[in-house]
């Protein structure tokens, strides 16, 4: 995952140094190749092993297994609901903190890291003991819990997105032109943090599609729970399902990232990275062209 937070100030017209080495080819040092190869092997060998173990014939069988469709459907519904709830909760919160309470940003960072520090098993056991009956009887209690789990990632994505543009000035400019808070949020703020919102969405979807502990303890069969349960029936199909899940998640993330980056680049905005927003310049070039 790219995790580069950059506040690069160099404009697009900034001339490159004349003696800058070519960023490819033989100048790439040998030790870098070695690390790259080691890392590639570390990630790809297990995947290759899993593929070899499952065999290609196991893949069509996935869709014929009982419970697959409903488990996948539940996971996708949970991903959708979690993403919507996360954005509805976090976007106004982060915008408000940036605008009105910048002094508590550090505290917010500390608070939002808590779901990473607290083990999910502690969280789910506590919630299952105190949650009201109507929530315990629905799988969508998981969505509420996933909102908490996604908070560290969503907060950081949105925070980085808001840091990348001059929110205060934009809001004041909109206000001076007669825009109220809803119009400012809808027409000015949200379009300019769309990249960050996409990053938050990507991370939230990935988290929900892979979460096992809470769903298992809440006794609902999401896709990861189904894979584990099914493993006892058929090892190869279960491994094929894992690879399939990985592939689907990867495709989904690539679609979101590519669509977000394409749309954003058209307007000179940032690239979608999975943790933060890599800032591009909004025209800092002094003077007139030509």
């Amino acid at each position: 995952m790219a995790a580069v937070a950059s506040a690069g100030q160099a404009g697009p017209q900034a001339p490159a140094p004349a003696n800058r080495p070519a960023p490819h080819g033989l100048r790439f040092p040998v030790w870098r190749w070695a690390i790259l190869l080691a890392a590639t092997a570390y990630f790809l060998i297990p995947l290759y092993s899993a593929l070899k173990f499952a065999g290609l014939k196991a893949f069509p069988d996935i869709f014929r297994q009982s419970g697959f469709i409903s488990a996948m459907g539940l996971s996708l519904r949970l991903a959708l609901i979690t993403t919507i709830l996360t954005l509805l909760l976090m976007v106004p919160t982060v915008v408000y903190v940036h605008l009105r309470l910048p002094q508590i940003r550090r505290m917010m960072e500390a608070i939002t890291i808590l779901p990473i520090v607290i083990p999910p098993i502690v969280l789910i056991i506590g919630v299952l003991k105190v949650a009201p009956g109507f929530l315990l009887s629905t799988p969508y209690l998981l969505a509420l819990l996933y909102v908490i789990l996604a908070m560290p990632f969503a907060y950081r994505s949105l925070d980085a997105g808001l840091r990348a543009f001059d929110l205060k000035t934009m809001v004041e400019a909109a206000s001076s032109l007669g825009a109220g808070a809803p119009a400012t949020l809808w027409r000015v703020v949200l379009p300019n943090i769309r990249t960050a919102m996409l990053s938050a969405t990507v991370l939230t979807v990935a988290l929900v599609l892979g979460e096992f502990t809470m769903a298992s303890l809440d006794l609902y069969q999401t896709f990861p729970v189904w894979i584990v349960n099914f493993e006892q029936n058929s090892g190869p199909v279960s491994v094929a399902a894992s690879l399939f899940a990985l592939f689907v998640t990867w495709i989904l993330l690539m679609v979101i990232v590519t669509a977000g980056s394409w749309s954003s680049r058209r307007r000179g905005g940032g690239e979608v990275a999975l943790f933060t927003v890599v800032r591009q310049d909004f025209g800092q070039t002094p003077g007139e062209p030509g």
Binding site: E172, A173, S176, L177, G178, F282, G283, G287, E288
Partner: protein, 369 residues
């Protein structure tokens, strides 16, 4: 920069309640504002006539931006009020004040084209799309940026962005135009062009304008009147020439333009002896007879002549066109700058002895530093 003021471009169809060419009078009454222990504004009062451009000039932290933000509605005053057209707008939200503002930092909405940026305020006023587009095109034409109408901010230079920001602020036919150091991020050449363009547009539209800057050249060249601020208060509000020629206080005298301090001693309340000459005192003297004071005099207010055994030695000289600015060390570490016609300054080279004197004109005096 493309053609600045297009001859054919008319006004953007002002049809507001203020009538054609009539800006609204603005009043700041006894404004005070503190941030913790820092008193940013300390009883600031200022009246701006309809269609007038007033610049607030002062060093960093003098309160000028706070004053502008209170007028815009982005800050609330602890005490005092702001009136527009005689009505107190203090309780009115910024979005309803009908004031256009151009910010110091580039403030165009990155997700909108130049035309959409200009049309944003009109959209908020529920103008129909066709009318909005017509007005946007008119305003962009007015600032000479019609070809860039479909460009996004990142495709525009800094100067172009500020011109779009100006068009956007003017598109809503504001009762008051607020300029918060709009030129400070631009390079010198663009700054000069844009400042002339802003002034020409402001005069053409007759919009009452409050302009905040720390750049005295900008303030003096653009404003009808300049208010010099210090520690949250106005030291003096006057036309640029009056401010330069007849500064009311030592701070104004030294902040605006170049000023020499020459040691002198008071002879009574209205005369001072300096550089061997007795000259009248302008304004109130800060000490009684015999008191040590500093005489404030501009480079063009001193006379210099080559003279062996004179009271000073030339240390450097700078050619400024018709005049040459000569630095003369008088005694110890006291150096003064004197403007002398370039044609007669050839002999005054570094190391030469010269005689510096005061002409018999009234001078401003202040306490000895």
């Amino acid at each position: 920069m493309t053609a600045s003021m297009t001859a054919g471009s008319g006004r953007a169809g002002r049809s507001g309640a203020h009538g054609d060419g009539a800006g609204a009078p603005v009043g700041l009454q006894d404004l005070s504002r503190s941030f913790g222990a820092v008193r940013a504004l300390d009883g600031l009062s200022l009246d701006i006539a309809p269609g007038e451009l007033v610049a607030l000039l002062g060093p960093s932290g003098c309160g000028k931006t706070t004053a502008l933000r209170i007028v815009a509605g982005f800050e609330a005053a602890d005490a005092g009020s702001v009136t527009v057209d005689g009505k107190d707008v203090s309780p009115v939200a910024a979005a309803r004040r009908d004031m256009g503002m151009v910010f110091q930092s580039y403030s165009l909405f990155p997700n909108m084209t130049a035309a959409d940026n200009v049309g944003f305020g009109l959209r908020m006023r529920k103008l129909r799309s066709a009318e909005r587009q017509r007005r946007s095109a008119e305003l962009l034409d007015m600032v000479g940026l019609s070809p860039q109408a479909r460009s996004y901010p990142h495709q525009l230079s800094g100067g172009q962005q500020q011109r779009v920001a100006l068009a956007r602020a003017l598109a809503i036919e504001p009762r008051v135009l607020l300029l918060d150091e709009p030129l400070s991020a631009l390079d010198a050449k663009v700054r000069l062009q844009l400042r002339e363009q802003i002034r020409a547009l402001q005069q053409r539209l007759g919009t009452t304008t409050l302009f905040v800057t720390h750049d005295q050249e900008e303030a003096l060249s653009m404003a009808d009147r300049v208010g010099v601020m210090k520690d949250g208060r106005l030291e003096q509000v006057a036309a640029p020439d009056e401010l330069y020629d007849r500064p009311a206080t030592a701070f104004v005298a030294e902040f605006v333009g170049i000023m020499n301090r020459v040691p002198g001693s008071l002879l009574g309340q209205d005369q001072v002896r300096a550089l061997g000459t007795v000259v009248p005192v302008h304004g109130a003297a800060p000490a009684g007879p015999g008191g040590d004071v500093d005489v404030l005099v501009r480079p063009e207010g001193l006379q210099v002549a080559a003279q062996p055994g004179g009271n000073g030695i030339v240390t450097s000289r700078t050619f400024l066109g018709s005049v040459t600015r000569i630095s003369v060390r008088l005694s110890g570490d006291l150096t003064v700058k004197v403007d002398h016609p370039s044609a007669a300054a050839a002999s005054m080279t570094p190391g030469e002895s010269v005689q510096v004197s005061l002409p018999a004109a009234a001078v401003l005096v202040t306490g000895r530093r």
